[in-house]
């Protein structure tokens, strides 16, 4: 074979240089192919076959000419039979009037080399197919390990969150934190429990979105903290439910005053994103001195019942649970305290 100038290449040398080549007549008859390409083609390749019987080309339908492929920037070919392994390459015209195609695997068929049992010796050292395979395999290993790490960190975070005593949104104690405080609360000293349930909170969430809702909850937390003593505990025990423990405070007049202040404070609008978010609160209070032996569970249930009375009485108010022996007081105007019997 003569190239421009005076280089003669033996087909065997050509095969060594380009093991993934195909040489055809311009008519399309296949003259020779590189050993690696022949191994990939396997029984699909037969002597003297036509290029377009072996490979389909992304050309307008019915096009079976080699000539338009020669010199094209990229030629894409695909086996017609068996697995439709894809190749990309280019074709050049040789001085003897033949066309020389040099091909490489399409990316999708590279990972398993088109199903052909090739070995490293099938690729010349200039061909980085092996490095690609190495990198693909190494990358998926590293990715798997990274994803496992993310899973483990996520797990650890979930566990830490479950074990946490603080509500991440408001910084108040959460239910677990409250349980810890209650365990530490000496039942020997008197204390009060105040349940706080926000009124119209759902409306804020629905009208202005969850970000506004979160802003309101944070404001509520701040205002509750500001209106109790540092020795008191404020916990967020539900979405819009809070519980306050007030140690050594059983004076009804003081409790009334605190409750009124809390309702008034929480009724001040919270500005979020230019919106004025308005809520109120219903409170229910239970006092340990009303019990022969203060049972925290019972006190919380009673505070809940008192809270329910505040709600059904028109919201935006507080109710102090009555001693069992006391008769319920007549209802006062909204916002003032009233006493309720245990339901």
């Amino acid at each position: 074979m003569m190239f421009a100038g005076d280089i003669t290449l033996d087909p065997g040398v050509l095969g060594q240089l380009l093991p993934m080549h195909l040489r055809t007549e311009l008519s399309g008859r296949v003259l020779s192919m590189g050993a690696t390409f022949a191994r990939i083609a396997g029984s699909r390749a037969t002597p003297d076959m036509w290029l377009f019987d072996l490979l389909a080309c992304e050309l307008p339908d019915g096009e079976v000419e080699v000539a338009p492929l020669v010199g094209a920037p990229v030629v894409r070919l695909r086996f017609r039979d068996g697995r439709r392994v894809g190749f990309r390459g280019h074709a050049v015209a040789l001085p003897d009037g033949t066309a020389l195609f040099d091909l490489a695997f399409d990316l999708v068929d590279l990972a398993d080399l088109g199903g052909a049992r090739l070995t490293a010796s099938d690729f010349p050292p200039t061909d980085r197919t092996l490095d690609m395979l190495y990198l693909m395999e190494a990358k998926s290993l590293a990715m798997r390990e990274a994803l496992r790490l993310v899973d483990r960190l996520q797990d650890a975070r979930d566990r830490a969150e479950a074990a946490a005593l603080t509500d991440t949104l408001t910084g108040l104690q959460n239910r677990r934190g409250l349980d810890h405080v209650l365990q530490r609360t000496s039942l020997g000293t008197p204390f009060s429990i105040c349940q706080v349930d926000l009124d119209h909170f759902k409306r804020v969430n629905d009208s202005y979105g969850h970000a506004a809702g979160d802003a309101v909850l944070r404001a509520v937390a701040r205002r509750l903290m500001r209106n109790v003593r540092t020795s008191d505990t404020v916990a967020r025990v539900g979405g819009d439910e809070f519980l306050i423990i007030l140690p050594e405070l059983t004076d009804i007049a003081v409790l009334d005053e605190i409750a009124l202040r809390i309702v008034a404070e929480l009724e001040r609008p919270v500005v979020h994103g230019g919106q004025q978010c308005r809520i109120s609160a219903s409170l229910g209070i239970a006092v340990s001195t009303d019990y022969g032996y203060p049972d925290v569970k019972l006190m919380i249930a009673d505070a809940d019942a008192a809270l329910y009375r505040s709600k059904s009485g028109g919201r935006a108010r507080h109710t102090i649970h009555a001693r069992p022996e006391q008769a319920p007081a007549p209802p006062g105007p909204p916002g003032t305290s009233r006493r309720s019997a245990r339901p």
Partner: protein, 195 residues
């Protein structure tokens, strides 16, 4: 120490000697983590402490533990993926040895924080190779020695790998290939799915 070394030691000890030995090694080395992560970095002193505790528990010299670690990383069934990556180095054992200079860069391509010493193989003819290996990270030459021995088995070659006298800033490993096709070796298909 990076997580690669730490994690490798952990896998080796847990798999070969069991969780109880690993727990004892951890306790001895006063390491606060229950498990090392491949992707994370740890303080450099941690490896030495873990290695020291492991050597004590296994009643071996630290160098021997590291060489066994190298063997384990290449030959254990759980380590197939790593062994596969190494097999991309060459078509036979001699080609693999010749390509060892690329190993540190190949490792970095996968795990940017992987630290391997520079490696330079020199063909001394008649199947003899001198492999020069940097001193840092310390002890790595023993891991590499174990790894080369295991790769010889993998390729089915019969070879000896001896620690030679240090040369300048490098350790020296003397590899002698007695037979390139001593046994069948293990199958290696380029395409992972085919295996």
């Amino acid at each position: 120490m990076n997580g690669v070394t730490a994690r490798a030691l952990q896998s080796f000890i847990q798999t070969t000697y069991g969780d109880a030995v690993w727990a004892a090694v951890l306790a001895d080395s006063r390491v606060e983590v229950p498990s090392f992560e491949l992707m994370l970095n740890y303080a450099p002193q941690l490896t030495e402490r873990v290695l020291g505790a492991a050597a004590k528990h296994l009643n071996r010299a630290p160098d021997e533990v590291l060489e066994d670690l190298g063997l384990f990383l290449v030959s254990h069934a759980d380590m197939q993926p790593l062994r596969r990556l190494l097999r991309f180095g060459g078509v036979d054992f001699a080609a693999f040895v010749q390509s060892m200079g690329d190993l540190p860069e190949r490792a970095r391509m996968v795990l940017p924080h992987a630290t391997m010493p520079p490696i330079r193989p020199v063909d001394e003819g008649d199947g003899r190779w001198a492999i020069f290996c940097g001193r840092r990270p310390e002890g790595m030459v023993h891991v590499i020695r174990g790894g080369i021995r295991a790769m010889a088995d993998d390729y089915g070659a019969l070879a000896t790998v001896e620690l030679g006298p240090d040369e300048g800033p490098n350790h020296r490993l003397d590899v002698t290939i007695l037979s390139d096709h001593f046994s069948e070796g293990r199958v290696f298909d380029l395409a992972a799915q085919a295996e």
